[in-house]
């Protein structure tokens, strides 16, 4: 069988056919993977909340409050963690755009008094081997059990008390800024003082 000639009608028909097949198959696979994809995203979020607030017994997804904050009044998602009905902490999904490669999203857990419990990086594009060390315990335990009201969580180069990751000061600075944003959002919206 020889190739069809490159006439206008042949070219249009072939391109139409190939894009139609491609479009339909992508649509089908999108439908098919939609459920599992959403389940995966939710499971990751819940796992992140669970690891920043290990004590809680409720389903935090049911206790979502929005905290408008920052220069552009973006709302941060805040999940209220309860143990046996009493509020024990807050998991705030915060972000910064000042990472070495842009956006970093972090889940930060606070106790009801505002002490940082733990942090989990949800999304980032930092340099592997450098900026990614923000996920390692050597770096992030510096924040644990600290209250941003009494402990300056800026990096030492900016006059704070956090030792920046070697070779990744920009990432460390951005990380601190995101954590601070989460804390400020809790304070501004008077979440902490309610209890």
């Amino acid at each position: 069988m020889s190739k069809p000639k490159s006439t206008l009608i042949n070219m249009v028909l072939v391109l139409l056919a190939i894009t139609a097949v491609s479009g339909f198959s992508l649509g089908y696979i999108n439908e098919w993977t939609k459920g599992p994809k959403e389940a995966t995203r939710l499971a990751r979020k819940l796992a992140a909340i669970k690891s920043v607030l290990p004590e809680i017994t409720n389903n935090p997804a049911e206790e979502l409050i929005l905290l408008p904050t920052g220069p552009d009044q973006d709302s941060l998602e805040c999940y209220v963690g309860k143990k046996d009905g009493a509020t024990v902490g807050y998991a705030v999904s915060t972000y910064t755009k000042k990472g070495f490669s842009g956006l970093i999203r972090i889940m930060v857990g606070f106790t009801a008094e505002g002490n940082i419990v733990n942090t989990v990086v949800l999304e980032h594009k930092e340099t592997p081997g450098l900026g990614t060390k923000m996920k390692e315990s050597k770096y992030k335990t510096q924040y644990h059990d600290k209250n941003p009201a009494t402990f300056d969580i800026k990096v030492t180069k900016d006059g704070g008390e956090i030792d920046a990751i070697t070779g990744a000061t920009i990432t460390s600075r951005a990380f601190s800024e995101a954590v601070q944003l989460a804390y400020d959002a809790l304070v501004e919206n008077k979440v902490l003082s309610q209890n």
């Binding site: 069988m1 894009t19 491609s22 993977t33």
Partner: protein
């Protein structure tokens, strides 16, 4: 040409990275660790084999003047499928490779094999060509990632072999290190293949 020779050429005499210097964007961009190199290589190999299969099976139906747009649509479709399926069913791998997967579309290695090989050869040869090129690409990326990770981070496949806090050549994880390592590895590879031929 036997199928075995067809397979081996992608790894040695026509290695896409060290000999043909194709698909340099992912080669330089994602090889900061051995694991990243391996993951990118395997994902690329999958798309390469699938697109070779389709291109080879429809080669008699596509008019010459629209063959490139047709190949691109086929490649982009497979890349999108890979991305959706990974995100849904292998979330941990997706997390590692997430940002690299869309880059596969613009990898000229895949378009190059569709144009130079699959559109002129039968189905079986095209599959073997895709596998050979894919393995060659994966090996090259893993080697590059391993060298950069060892020198830059003091570890291999995330297993550290220097004490924590030891100073390493951070340069090798950063973009300039990719160019330097690629040049040395390509020179070494060509030296070795030439020595083997003589």
């Amino acid at each position: 040409m036997t199928q075995w020779k067809n397979f081996v050429k992608g790894i040695v005499s026509e290695n896409p990275v060290f000999v043909m210097l194709l698909g340099m964007c992912p080669v330089l961009g994602v090889t900061s660790t051995a694991m990243n190199g391996l993951g990118m290589g395997v994902a690329t190999m999958f798309v390469l084999v699938m697109s070779n299969i389709v291109v080879s099976s429809i080669k008699t139906l596509v008019p010459d003047k629209v063959r490139i747009p047709t190949f691109i649509v086929i490649i982009a479709t497979f890349v999108t499928i890979v991305e959706m399926v990974l995100e849904a069913f292998l979330p941990s791998l997706y997390e590692q490779l997430g940002i690299f997967i869309p880059l596969i579309v613009v990898n000229c290695l895949i378009l190059g094999r569709a144009e130079a090989f699959a559109s002129k050869n039968n189905l079986v040869s095209s599959v073997v060509d895709g596998l050979g090129m894919g393995v060659g690409f994966t090996l090259a990326l893993t080697a590059l990632g391993a060298v950069r990770e060892m020198l830059g981070n003091g570890s291999i496949f995330d297993i550290a072999f220097v004490p924590e806090g030891a100073s390493t050549f951070i340069l090798f994880i950063l973009p300039p290190g990719a160019f330097i390592t690629l040049a040395f590895l390509a020179a070494l590879f060509n030296r070795m293949t030439r020595a083997a031929q003589n």
